[in-house]
C-alpha cells in the first residue's frame, strides 16, 4: 500500500518507491537536503502520527527517535504519516575563545551546555539570532567537550563577522552533528587522500588526526588549496604531523605564485590528479566549494576510487541577502 503524507496543508499519496523527501519536494515544501542517503541528517523531519519506517530512524540518537524524528530521504512509509511542522532541537553553547589563525580565518572555540557526540569531520549548524550557518568541527571528542570551528570572515558575512568579534561568554545554539565525511575503521592500510579548499581544511585536519588516533597505518596525503601563497593556515601543525611517525604527506597548492618553490602552483584539481594519478583502492575526502568538490569527485571516481570510498562535504555559501526561509541551509565555512 502506497504511503500517504500530510504536512501542514500538503497532503499527497507517494508514488511507488518514492521517499518522503521526494514527496515533500514534489508537493512544493521547502525541505533542506544534502546526501539523500540517510547520512547527513539535513532533511530530518518529525512524525506527529504514523510510522516513518525503521530504516529512516537508524543511527539517530535514541532521544530523537523517541520524539519521532526521522530522515525523510530514506523514509518510505506504507501507511498514513503526518509530519510536524517545526525545527529540529538545538543545544546552547558559549563561546570561550576566538583566535585568528590565518588570513581572515579565526578559530572559534565553544563550550556546549551538554557534551556533543560526534565524529571528527562532521559539522554542526550554528544558530545566531535568526541566522543559521554550517561549520565543520576541527576538534575531536578526545580533546574534551570543547568544539573548534574554523571560520572564514567574509567581508559582508553577518554570522562570521559577529563570531570574529564575539566576546568570551557570548551565546549561540547548535544543531547536529551531521555529515558523513569522517574516518571509518576497518581498512587501516588503505591510502587516504584528503583535498580541501580554504576552511575545508578544518574537517580534513580533524579526520587526519582521527585516522591516526584510530591506528591507521596506510599513507595519508593532505592537499590544501588556497588562492594565494600566503592564504594557508595551520601550516606548522601540519608540518609537525609530517615529521611525526607514519606516512603523512602535506601539499599546499596556490592558484598563483612562484613556480618551483615549496608550494605547488596551479589549478587544485589538476595538481591533485597529477600528483595522484591512480586512486584505485584509495579512500578520498573532498571538502570545500561545491563546484570544485563535485568536479574532483568525478575525476577521482574515474581514476579508480570506488564511489563508496569518496566522502565529500560541499560548503555552500550563504546568499546575500539571505532569503527569509532558505530551502538549503547555508554554510558559512
Amino acid at each position: 500500500m502506497p504511503g500517504r503524507i500530510r504536512r501542514g496543508s500538503l497532503d499527497l499519496v507517494l508514488e511507488p518507491g518514492e521517499t518522503v523527501l521526494e514527496g515533500l519536494l514534489r508537493g512544493g515544501a521547502a525541505v533542506p537536503s544534502s546526501c539523500r542517503a540517510g547520512a547527513c541528517q539535513a532533511c530530518m523531519q518529525r512524525a506527529a502520527a504514523g510510522d516513518p519506517g525503521a530504516a529512516s530512524q537508524q543511527g539517530l540518537h535514541p532521544a530523537l527517535r523517541e520524539q519521532g524524528w526521522f530522515l525523510a530521504c530514506v523514509s518510505r512509509p506504507t501507511g498514513d504519516l503526518t509530519i510536524a511542522d517545526g525545527e529540529p532541537p538545538a543545544i546552547g553553547a558559549a563561546i570561550t575563545e576566538v583566535t585568528p589563525i590565518g588570513p581572515a580565518i579565526v578559530r572559534v572555540r565553544l563550550e556546549p551546555d551538554e557534551a556533543l557526540s560526534y565524529r571528527p569531520g562532521q559539522y554542526v549548524q550554528l544558530i545566531q539570532d535568526d541566522q543559521i550557518r554550517a561549520y565543520s568541527l576541527a576538534s575531536s571528542p578526545v580533546d574534551g567537550p570543547r568544539l573548534d570551528l574554523h571560520v572564514r570572515v567574509h567581508r559582508h558575512g553577518r554570522v562570521s563577522r559577529w563570531l570574529a568579534g564575539a566576546a568570551p561568554g557570548a551565546r549561540v545554539r547548535l544543531r547536529g552533528p551531521a555529515g558523513s565525511c569522517f574516518y571509518t575503521e576497518g581498512r587501516p592500510e588503505q591510502p587516504l587522500l584528503m583535498v580541501g579548499t580554504g576552511t575545508g581544511l578544518a574537517p580534513l585536519y580533524a579526520i587526519a588526526r582521527d585516522a591516526r588516533r584510530r591506528g591507521h597505518t596506510g599513507p595519508i596525503s593532505l592537499v590544501h588549496g588556497a588562492r594565494d601563497p600566503d592564504g594557508f593556515y595551520l601550516v606548522d601543525e601540519l608540518k609537525r604531523m609530517v615529521a611525526e611517525a607514519g606516512v603523512f604527506r602535506y601539499v599546499r597548492c596556490a592558484m598563483t605564485g612562484e613556480i618551483g618553490g615549496e608550494i605547488e602552483v596551479g589549478d587544485l584539481a589538476a595538481v591533485t590528479l597529477r600528483l595522484f594519478p591512480n586512486l584505485k583502492g584509495w579512500r578520498v575526502f573532498l571538502c570545500g566549494s561545491p563546484d570544485w568538490v563535485n568536479a574532483l569527485k568525478k575525476q577521482c571516481f574515474l581514476r579508480g576510487a570506488g564511489l563508496k570510498d569518496i566522502s565529500t562535504d560541499a560548503f555552500l555559501t550563504a546568499p546575500t541577502p539571505a532569503p527569509p526561509r532558505a530551502a538549503v541551509t547555508a554554510s558559512g565555512r
Binding site: R36, F301, L307
Partner: protein, 125 residues
C-alpha cells in the same frame, strides 16, 4: 534456475559492478554529457537497480518506470546509438567480472527488452 544475480554473489557483487559500469559510462564521451549534472550517488543507486534487474535479481522495474525515468533524456536526444553504447558497457563490465559469453548474451537480451521503453517508443515502431 539460479539467476546470474545470485551466481555473481548478490547485492555485494552488484555494488562492485556498479562502480565498474558507471565508470565506463562516464568515461564514454558520447554518454558523459548526459551525466554531467547528476548526483552521483542517486545515479549509482539507479544503475544498481538496473544491474539488479538485468541480472535477474530482486527488482520491480516496470516499463512505465523506465519510460518516465528516461523521458527527459529522450527530450535531450538519446537514441539507439546511446542505448547500444550502454549495453556495450554492460557487457564489458560483466566480462571484466569473469562472466561467460552465454550469460552476457542472456543479460543483453533482458536489457534489449526495455529498449523501446527507455527510448520512449511504441513497441511496434
Amino acid at each position: 534456475m539460479t539467476s546470474l544475480y545470485d551466481e555473481l554473489g548478490g547485492a555485494v557483487a552488484i555494488d562492485a559492478a556498479v562502480d565498474i559500469f558507471y565508470r565506463k559510462v562516464m568515461a564514454d564521451e558520447k554518454l558523459a554529457p548526459f551525466f554531467d549534472d547528476v548526483d552521483m550517488e542517486r545515479q549509482a543507486a539507479k544503475q544498481k537497480a538496473f544491474l539488479t534487474m538485468v541480472t535477474g535479481g530482486p527488482a520491480n522495474y516496470s516499463g512505465k518506470d523506465m519510460r518516465r525515468a528516461h523521458a527527459h533524456l529522450v527530450a535531450e536526444g538519446i537514441d539507439d546509438s546511446h542505448f547500444d553504447a550502454v549495453v556495450g558497457h554492460l557487457a564489458g563490465t560483466l566480462k571484466e567480472l569473469g562472466v561467460d559469453d552465454a550469460k552476457i548474451a542472456r543479460v543483453g537480451a533482458v536489457a534489449e527488452s526495455v529498449r523501446n521503453d527507455v527510448l520512449g517508443r511504441n513497441p511496434a515502431s
